[in-house]
Symmetry: C2
Subunit: 258 residues, 2 copies
DNA sequence: TTTCATTTAGTATTTTTTACAAAATGTGAT
DNA sequence: ATCACATTTTGTAAAAAATACTAAATGAAA
C-alpha cells in the first residue's frame, strides 16, 4: 500500500479482499541488553499510539495475517509469534477521537457511517519477541509513524490496546516457563550471561547468576562451544549455542522451568 | 428462538443484531465418575455433529456470548468457562455438505449466496468442564439434537471442530496444572478419592492415590470436615470441601501442580 | 606481576517429589 | 462378636530438584 490511491481503495473497497469485523493486533516486544521495548505505530488519522495490526485477507489464515503485518513493519520473519487471546465487546473501540475532516479529505465521503472499517471489530491478539537492534522499521502511507517505546513508560494507547499489552506480557511470561526462547533474540553464539540477562529482562525478575544457566544446560538446550568471547576486561566467557534438535523438541513437547 | 418464524428471521436479518463473520464455539466437557464426555449438537440443516456455538450479539462481550450459548443448552451458569484459542482461515468451513433443499424450504430463498451466515467465519474457542449428571439438555428449533458423547469415541465432526476439541483438551489440561478446578464438578462435600478420580480422568493419567490428595491439602485448597461418608462397604472416607478463599485466590494468582 | 571483576565449577543445605509400607477403619461374612 | 478385607489415611525413607553459597579460574588492565 504505497500510494494515496491504494489507501483510498482500501478504505472504500477493502471488504472485498479482507474479512470484515475481524482484525489482528501484535504486541511486538523488542529486547536488547536488559531493555524491553514495545513496537507502536501512529496512524495518520489517529492521535494516539496503537499496536501494529491489520485486517485478515480472505485467502489467508490468522497466523499468516499476523506474520504479514509484523513483516511489513519490522522486516523480520521466523519470529516467535504466538496467538494469546481474542478481544471483543461493544466497548472496545471508541471512534469519537477520530478526525472527521481527515476522513472526508481522504475518502471524499461526508462520514464513515456504514463503512466496513468502522463497524465493531473483534481482534485476535498475537505477541512476538525480537531483538530490536536488528529491526529496520518500515513506514508507508497507511501506517504513519512507527517506533520502539520503553515498556516501562508507554504513552496512552488507542482503544483497548493497553489491556492487550498487559495480557500479552502475562501470556509471554507464562509461555517462558513452558517453552524455550532465544533463537531469534540472541546471536548464533552467545554467553551464559547474555541468556541470563534475556530471561531476567523478559520475566522482570532476578534469577540466580550461578544456578540459572546450569538449569538450561541440564535441560540440554545449550551446546558449549570451543570458543571464547573476549570483549572488554576480565575473564572471557565461553560461547554457547542452542542445540537445535532439543530446542525444536522442547517447542513441540514443552518443558518445565522454575 | 422458539418458533419457525424466529428462526427464519435470524437467518435473513440476524446481521442487524449479531456481528457477522464472528462466532464462538464451546467444547463442553462433561465429567462423572471416571468418565469424560463432550456435548455435541446436530443442527437441523447439518448432517454431522458439531460443537455448540453461536454468534455474538452486537451488545455483548465474547465471554457473554459463550455463557449465553452454554446456558441455552445446559441450563448451567457459573461454569469454569475459558477462552483458549481463535480459529480462522479460508478452509475452515466447508458448506458443500449443506442441504440446499432444506435451506430453500426454511428461507424461501433459492440459494445462500450473499447470506451473512454463509460468509467466512472466525470462531473464538471456549471450553468448560461440568458435571454431566446435573445438566438437563435443552433443545429448540434452531438447535436440533443435543447429546453427550464419549470423548474416546466421537463421531466425525463438522468443519474444523475436531481440531478445536483437540486444542481445547490440550488447553484444559495445561490449565489444570496452573489453576484449581472442581468447584462446579464435585458436590459441596466430597472425598479425597472423588477429587483424585476427577483429576485422573481429566488428565487421562495415573496420579498416586496417596500423594496426590496430600498435595491439594498442602496447597490449602481443601478443608477437612468433621463428617464421613458411609456408602457401601469398607472404611468410610472423610469429607472435604474447598476453602473458598484459597480457591478464589488460586484462580487469580495461579498455582503450581506437578 | 598484581589486582580485580566476572565467569564457572563445586558443594552443602534445604525443599520437594516420589515411592512404598503400614496402620486405621467401617462393613459384611462367619 | 470376631475376623477378613478393601479402602482410606498416615508415615517415612529414598530420590531428585531447587537454592544458597563458596571458592577457584581466568583474562584484561593497572
Amino acid at each position: 500500500m504505497q500510494t494515496e490511491e491504494d489507501f483510498r481503495d482500501f478504505i472504500l473497497n477493502g471488504h472485498l479482499h479482507y474479512i470484515p469485523n475481524i482484525a489482528i493486533d501484535c504486541a511486538i516486544f523488542g529486547y536488547q541488553k536488559h531493555q524491553l521495548r514495545l513496537l507502536l505505530i501512529r496512524h495518520r488519522n489517529m492521535n494516539r499510539w496503537s499496536l501494529p495490526g491489520g485486517h485478515v485477507k480472505r485467502t489467508e489464515k490468522l497466523e499468516e495475517a499476523a506474520y504479514r503485518n509484523v513483516k511489513i513493519r519490522t522486516g523480520l520473519k521466523n519470529l516467535f509469534l504466538q496467538q494469546f487471546k481474542t478481544f471483543g465487546g461493544p466497548d472496545r473501540m471508541k471512534f469519537d477521537r477520530f478526525d472527521k475532516k481527515k476522513w472526508t479529505e481522504i475518502t471524499g465521503l461526508p462520514s464513515w457511517e456504514g463503512n466496513w472499517l468502522m463497524d465493531q471489530t473483534v481482534t485476535v491478539g498475537f505477541y512476538a519477541v525480537t531483538d530490536f537492534s536488528e529491526t529496520v522499521l518500515q513506514s508507508d502511507i497507511s501506517i504513519g509513524e512507527c517506533a520502539w517505546h520503553d515498556l516501562a513508560n508507554l504513552p496512552p494507547l488507542e482503544f483497548d490496546h493497553e489491556d492487550i499489552v498487559r495480557d500479552a506480557l502475562h501470556a509471554m511470561r507464562l509461555h517462558l516457563y513452558h517453552y524455550p526462547i532465544g533463537l531469534n533474540l540472541l546471536p548464533e553464539k552467545f554467553t551464559l550471561s547474555e541468556i541470563h540477562a534475556l530471561y531476567e529482562t523478559l520475566l522482570e525478575k532476578k534469577l540466580d547468576i550461578s544456578n540459572f544457566p546450569k538449569k538450561l544446560i541440564t535441560l540440554g538446550l545449550l551446546k558449549k562451544l570451543d570458543e571464547k568471547r573476549s570483549i572488554g576486561a576480565h575473564r572471557s566467557p565461553h560461547l554457547y549455542s542452542f542445540d537445535k534438535v532439543r530446542y525444536e523438541l522442547a517447542l513441540k513437547e514443552g518443558l518445565v522451568l522454575s
